[in-house]
């Protein structure tokens, strides 16, 4: 790579954060030290760097003093990176010639008990920042043309709702459904909480809307075959089963995954669940209730006593499904109420682990209690025992609410309240879209609170319960959030993406293909330039993760903003000697950043001490005049690295002696 010109006029702003930083970190000394650094033209303390007044002053400085790089030492870049990039941009400086150093979360807050050390560490970090900015390049955002169309995978309530929203906002929508009918879990379903509307009615309402919107194309019995491209310009191949072998391609600016869940299928014999038994799943029970009129009977026998067993296949401490499906408690209680309202003289027993009818659904729990439903609590370790008798099911439970008494119940029907599990084919979808799957096997969002509907793949979004258990309301909410997010991105003709991507030095590259192999995002491909085969990066697809850079044998790959120059500069800056005049006594070792050079010094002393004869920890501590905990800590580390070894026990049979490795006793 060509030698880049270092920045000559750098501005450094060290923030007090109204005392959050300055109460611990000696910001004034740091300002003076930093001011003496090479190439630093401005070094200032500010009360609040993010304040409007300071932003204006920074712009003035940049313009008047012709600064070519700026560093703000304040809080986490998660908070204000974009604020100060904006400042740089407004002042006419490239936003990527800005570096933020975190001296609040990483120094003053983390080391409030060692203010002097916090100052050393801050000095190191700021210097690292200065070196980094001095090697920084002016970058421009990657511009991508966006297609105003979306492919929605899965036509359950979430997918249908999202399709309607996206179409109404003016986007073309291709809605792909694997099953022959749309509706997902709600297709053919009876009354559901909290509105008591039938599931099928919800589906019909949404389908009615979809039919009215010409921008939506719904494919049933269809699957996604292949996905290529990147945000703004995906190409989604859809295979429609009705027409064998026919694959249609659709352009998409973004993809929304609303593939939903599967109901947990009880294992053969789990709580007596088996073909032809009187133990059925929630789903089967709901169908039975919905299709029965007048009286409830199963296998020709009237049902008067029902036992519901909760948390079937869920919240397994040792099993795969560690999570709670959160909607099943409410669903089961809602079904129980529906049964009471539809049929007379039915007694229900709920065998649960914890009732989670959270939010407004708590009133259903109360209602069912008032209708005479009895709740019994079991522990995971001692699940109810179900034995199928003649026309009756015998259920035994150790009821935690009755001092763990062993109780027995004869039920006409046992309903297994099964939770939600990830779809079996979700791995296939994940492979096609390159989106991550969590340890629970549901699709993972970027951040459950801050970015709940986005995936790490730009342009691929999640909605509904493919992401984790959700009830209908929550599924629809997340699908609508994803629609709004998608629309906000693709409504612009061009998208701007951060230019933090891998770059190939075509001259150095010899195409060995290693980078392509390791790239998780398929962003690297082969091209031919000037008669030479080299690697090339598809910028919109590249996430700048950096995995390709160290793997390259020719060192032909650099990541923008993380070039070798920048990283090496940071290391140099951090490890530079710091001359701070801090309060004595509080500090451990002086003269280095964060006391990082403590280790070799004490190791050296210990080794010198052990030269003559083997010693115990108290003896070493005494001769080094160091606390014995500290000596123990370092000695154990040295032991681990084979620097010292045990030399038997002392004469009092009290402490182990240690000697230098390979040293005669």
């Amino acid at each position: 790579m060509e030698e880049k010109k270092k920045k000559q006029r750098i501005g450094v702003y060290i923030c007090h954060c109204g005392g959050n930083i300055s109460d611990y970190v000696d910001v004034e000394q740091l300002r003076d030290i930093v001011g003496q650094e090479e190439n630093v033209a401005v070094s200032k303390n500010v009360m609040f760097a993010c304040a409007d007044s300071n932003q204006k002053e920074m712009i003035k400085d940049i313009q008047e003093k012709q600064l070519d790089g700026i560093v703000v030492a304040s809080c986490s870049p998660k908070l204000h990176l974009h604020t100060f990039r904006g400042v740089a941009e407004r002042a006419g400086l490239n936003p990527y010639n800005y570096v933020q150093v975190n001296v609040r979360e990483q120094c003053s807050w983390a080391h409030s008990d060692h203010p002097d050390q916090a100052s050393y560490k801050a000095a190191g970090l700021i210097r690292a920042g200065i070196r980094r900015v001095s090697s920084s390049e002016a970058l421009t955002n990657i511009e991508v043309k966006a297609t105003k169309s979306v492919v929605v995978i899965g036509a359950g309530v979430a997918g249908m709702r999202a399709a309607i929203d996206l179409a109404r906002m003016g986007n073309q929508v291709v809605l792909v459904e694997k099953e022959p009918v749309a509706g997902g879990q709600m297709a053919g379903k009876g009354p559901v909480f909290p509105t008591n509307q039938k599931g099928q009615e919800l589906v019909d309402t949404l389908l009615g809307e979809i039919r009215k919107l010409s921008k939506i194309t719904l494919f049933t019995s269809a699957t996604v075959d292949k996905v290529t491209g990147s945000i703004g310009n995906f190409k989604v191949d859809v295979r429609v089963n009705g027409t064998p072998g026919e694959v249609m391609s659709f352009p998409a600016g973004a993809i929304l995954v609303t593939t939903g869940y599967e109901s947990y299928a009880p294992k053969e014999g789990e709580y007596g669940f088996t073909e032809g038994s009187r133990v059925i799943t929630m789903k089967e029970f709901d169908k039975l209730v919905d299709s029965s009129n007048g009286s409830l009977s199963y296998q020709g026998k009237a049902v008067k006593t029902i036992a519901y067993i909760y948390c079937v296949g869920m919240r397994q401490t040792k099993g795969e499904n560690k999570y709670c499906s959160r909607s099943c408690c409410t669903a089961a209680i809602h079904s129980s109420i529906t049964v009471h309202e539809k049929f007379k003289g039915i007694k229900a027993f709920h065998l649960y682990r914890d009732i989670r009818t959270y939010g407004k659904n708590e009133i259903l729990y109360e209602k069912s209690s008032k209708l005479g439903d009895t709740y019994l609590m079991y522990q995971e370790k001692e699940p109810p025992q179900v034995v199928q008798g003649k026309n009756i099911v015998n259920v035994k439970i150790k009821d935690s609410l009755t001092r763990k008494r062993e109780l027995e119940l004869d039920a006409d029907l046992v309903v297994l309240v099964t939770g939600m599990v990830p779809r079996k084919d979700s791995q296939d979808i994940a492979n096609k879209l390159k989106i991550p799957i969590g340890s629970d096997k549901f699709f993972n969002e970027i951040h459950p609170k801050l970015r709940p509907v986005e995936t790490v793949i730009n342009g691929v979004f999640l909605g509904g319960s493919c992401q984790g258990p959700k009830n209908i309301t929550e599924s629809v909410q997340s699908a609508m959030a994803a629609s709004a997010k998608i629309n906000a991105i693709i409504r612009k003709d061009t998208l701007e993406l951060e230019p933090i991507v891998a770059r190939i030095d075509a001259e150095a590259c010899t195409w060995c293909g290693k980078c392509q192999e390791v790239c998780e995002y398929d962003a690297i491909f082969q091209i031919e330039t000037n008669g030479k085969v080299v690697a090339s990066v598809n910028d919109p697809v590249c996430k700048g993760c950096g995995i390709c850079a160290p793997i390259c044998p020719a060192d032909a790959i650099d990541i923008a903003q993380y070039t070798n120059d920048e990283i090496e500069g940071m290391i140099d800056g951090f490890s530079q000697q710091v001359d701070l005049n801090v309060e004595k006594g509080k500090s451990g070792q002086e003269g280095d950043a964060g006391g990082m050079k403590d280790f070799p010094q004490i190791w050296k002393s210990i080794m010198e001490d052990l030269l003559e004869e083997p010693k115990t920890i108290p003896q070493i501590a005494a001769s080094l005049q160091q606390p014995s905990e500290l000596v123990t800590w370092h000695l154990m580390t040295m032991n681990k690295y084979y620097i010292v070894e045990s030399a038997g026990i002392d004469d009092n049979d009290e402490y182990f002696l240690y000697k230098l490795k390979n040293q005669a006793k």
Binding site: T305, K370, T374, L407
Partner: protein, 371 residues
């Protein structure tokens, strides 16, 4: 292994336990109850037993009788399941289950039957009474139709029967209490020590005094002489006093008609206590001052009014004896007084009155097993 009875909860509701199955086992009631001890299961576990239909366990529990129905639990129940009312209902259930005839079951479960039986007995007692007062005009009229001996023997049979029922009830309770006795539970306290503890409790109602002592309790700031425990004490000791005085009178066959005769003085004082207590209790229940007084069953009302009327008519009779006023009105009052007093006794094992016996027994076993 105990079998759950899905229909028992509905059965209990007929005894006045309305919404107890709304309970979600939070245990607030147990926490708030001042009588909760290590060895007692107040009142959550009792509700639990009812919900699951473990009736044998209810009948084998002392807890229903250790509760004085202060109502703190109902007041603070987050589900409005009425644990206090539930405890009263299982007391009614137990009374009807311990006695052998099934009469109480009918009376407690149905108000029409309750009124019918009460009236029927009153009419019978009226007849019986005239046989004891042959000088009354109506008595002569009755004897024309029914021989004296028949009525008299019938009366003896019935009183014998009520006495036997009482003993049966007591034995039945004792057997039940000891059937499911926890093996770990030791009878550490001697028979006589336990007995003295019972007597001390009955004399002072110390446990009852612990009730309603919560900071925000309605009774906290009220004067001692209107507190529920004192009301109960006044009714209880008033009745016992009157019982003793009446017995003495009966034994001594009205030797003198002065109100300064010792048994008469005892009767007057006891009567004052009983009228005072019942008046307040009726007032509280009428005005529904707290949750504990808000739901009053026919059995509760009858019991209180009978005691009140017996007290008031008793004073009338005392006055008329003192002033020698033997007229039709006094004869009528005498009739009412005696019919009601005798009905109280006659229905002892079949009414709310039985709690006097069962509570005493429960207290005895409670103290005996306290250790």
């Amino acid at each position: 292994m105990t079998k759950i009875d899905p229909h028992f909860a509905d059965e209990l509701k007929k005894y006045g336990a309305k919404d107890f199955d709304a309970c979600f086992n939070c245990g607030n009631c147990t926490a708030i109850c001042t009588l909760t001890e290590k060895s007692t299961n107040f009142p959550r576990m009792m509700l639990r037993l009812g919900m699951l239909g473990l009736k044998k366990d209810i009948l084998a529990s002392r807890e229903p009788w250790l509760c004085y129905a202060c109502g703190d639990c109902s007041e603070t129940c987050p589900r409005q399941a009425g644990p206090g009312q539930y405890m009263a209902a299982i007391r009614r259930y137990a009374i009807s289950a311990y006695e052998p005839t099934g009469l109480t079951k009918l009376m407690f479960k149905s108000n029409p039957i309750f009124v019918f039986v009460t009236l029927l007995i009153a009419v019978f007692l009226g007849f019986f009474l005239f046989t004891l007062k042959p000088e009354y005009e109506v008595s002569r009229w009755i004897f024309a139709y029914l021989p004296y001996a028949v009525i008299h023997n019938m009366g003896l049979v019935i009183f014998g029967f009520t006495g036997l029922s009482m003993i049966w009830g007591a034995l039945s309770m004792i057997l039940n209490l000891n059937r499911n006795k926890d093996k770990k539970e030791k009878s550490d306290v001697s028979f006589f020590k336990a007995l003295s503890l019972v007597i001390s409790e009955l004399t002072t109602l110390k446990r009852y005094q612990n009730c309603d002592t919560e900071e925000d309790s309605f009774w906290k700031e009220k004067p001692w002489y209107v507190k529920p425990w004192l009301v109960h004490w006044a009714i209880m000791w008033g009745f016992i006093g009157l019982l003793v005085a009446t017995s003495l009178d009966f034994i001594l066959k009205d030797p003198v008609t002065t109100i300064w005769w010792p048994s008469r003085i005892l009767g007057s004082i006891a009567g004052l206590f009983m009228v005072y207590g019942t008046s307040l209790a009726i007032n509280y229940r009428w005005k529904k001052v707290t949750k504990a007084y808000s739901e009053t069953s026919a059995a509760d009302w009858t019991f209180l009014w009978f005691l009140w009327i017996a007290g008031i008519t008793g004073f009338w009779l005392e006055a008329s004896v003192a002033f020698g006023a033997d007229n039709i009105a006094t004869q009528f009052i005498f009739l009412v007084h005696t019919v009601i007093s005798m009905e109280l006794v006659l229905l002892f094992a079949f009414s709310k009155f039985a709690h006097a016996l069962y509570r005493t027994l429960a207290l005895f076993f409670h103290f005996r097993n306290q250790g």
